[in-house]
Point group: C2
Chain length 295, copies 2
């Protein structure tokens, strides 16, 4: 424990991760727990954290939390910082919950247009600052709600959320397209065909019907239809962001999913794409925010 | 019964309607049954029709069927006719199931691009020909799978299917957006806001996240969110077809839904929109196809 300088907490909607973080941001040890912020009342956070990592919290170490612990109705509501937002902006806005003065929570970041809230992020902002992001890059965090985050001059300048993962699950479960549909990840060609369809043929609510038509035409088997559908939805993201395809892209998230996004990005003309480790990025981002707080 | 010239059958996926049709296409009487084509094996169609309207079928009257009875695996699979397709094309392609030589089934219509099947319709083609459609019009059949059908010179020249109704249900049931969501039809302003958002801010998989952001920002109440979501999805249809907003539009379907589409179309700059009776259009379409067959 003697090398530990910071206890980092990534409190997502459906999962909790606590990390012992060394000088510079390296992860020395970590623990996970299924008690995500989505299911916790404000007065439960402290005791859950004690249960999961109480033995790490006894030494007066600073604790820095990113993610949904700062959402409305959770540990302590943290207002969203407006874009553009950098490490120093996040650091200057951290705050502690009433029941845990040794804990600091990182605020989320928001896009405002003409003063109106347009989009929000909680957690991915910390990951972005843990990456070594080139200027004018795009950081893509695929998943339930995919985030496409643009950066410039070391700050987040804007972002867009796509409900891709959640839509995929809802379409598979709740529509005629899901009948006989398997899991994605078995047919790269069907995935690419879906991406290309979405790129050339918006909008996606019409392109979705092509899952059925391709099946009727004998060009798509039930076993491959999940890949095609996944390609359509991810392709719709790429199509919407294709104006940025000269920028470098960093993907953070589950590796299999990141590989699918990398394939879709290549079809959309993005040529500089790399995959980063999400957990390492979170730890390093927390470390950098902590350093800026301490300054 | 003496005025009856044709027994018309509209066999949808989830509903059956049998009509006694007079010279010219007027409906003299009709009966409905929940045994839609979606749940029937090929050898059940004849007996269901006998049960529902056997007393109407005893007099050697011709029987003409539109809709899903002609789909693969149903009464008799009828190939799709390619666009452009008119009444004479449909009439020349009707055919009888093996077990009912007195019955004729109307084929569906398909869009092909470079020889590849792109979109399909079964049932709405018959409705289109029952309308008195101006040239260069758009016939819109909202619903589970919304159809936007373009016409010219008395023929169907092309169409596009949007999975709007099915997506609305799947999103409400299967995503975070559906939590606390009520039914649509209570807040016209929220509906209009959704349409306008979709018109100015594609793609819809990103615009969908605005249901959540508008709620977070206090601009959308749970009670109004179903209308906003409905507006987003219908607005995505209008946005995709806005290049046709100089054309006259005829809406056919449930009246409350058609009114919502009419409001969305107005926001998209469509200025010549009327709502037609779907059942009457089907009967008249069947009559016109029957007349062309008899010629």
């Amino acid at each position: 424990m003697s090398d530990t300088r910071l206890i980092g907490v990534d409190w997502g909607t459906s999962n909790l991760r606590v990390m012992r973080i060394a000088e510079g941001g390296a992860v020395l040890d970590s623990r996970s727990d299924p008690r995500g912020a989505g299911g916790l009342a404000p007065d439960h956070f402290h005791s859950v954290l004690q249960e999961v990592a109480g033995d790490w919290l006894t030494q007066g170490l600073p604790v820095l939390v990113s993610g949904m612990a700062g959402a409305r109705g959770r540990w302590r509501e943290m207002a969203y910082l407006p874009c553009p937002a950098g490490v120093a902006d996040l650091a200057s806005a951290v705050a502690s919950p009433d029941d845990a003065p040794h804990v600091s929570i990182v605020p989320g970041v928001a896009v405002f247009e003409d003063g109106f809230l347009q989009d929000v992020v909680r957690g991915e902002e910390t990951q972005v600052f843990g990456l070594d992001v080139q200027d004018d890059a795009v950081v893509v965090g695929p998943g339930t709600h995919s985030k496409w985050i643009r950066t410039a001059g070391g700050r987040i300048t804007g972002f867009r959320t796509f409900m891709t993962g959640e839509l995929f699950a809802a379409i598979r479960k709740g529509t005629i397209l899901g009948a006989d549909m398997g899991d994605p990840g078995v047919d790269d060609e069907a995935f690419a065909a879906g991406v290309q369809r979405a790129l050339r043929d918006p909008p996606v609510t019409a392109a979705l019907f092509s899952v059925r038509v391709e099946g009727l035409a004998g060009r798509l088997s039930p076993a491959s239809s999940a890949d095609y559908l996944s390609g359509l939805l991810i392709g719709a993201e790429v199509a919407a962001q294709v104006d940025a395809n000269h920028r470098p892209v960093i993907l953070i998230g589950a590796e299999a999913l990141c590989r699918r996004y990398a394939a879709a990005l290549a079809l959309g003309g993005f040529h500089d794409v790399r995959i980063a480790d999400g957990a390492a990025a979170t730890a390093k981002g927390l470390w950098r925010i902590h350093e800026a707080v301490s300054r």
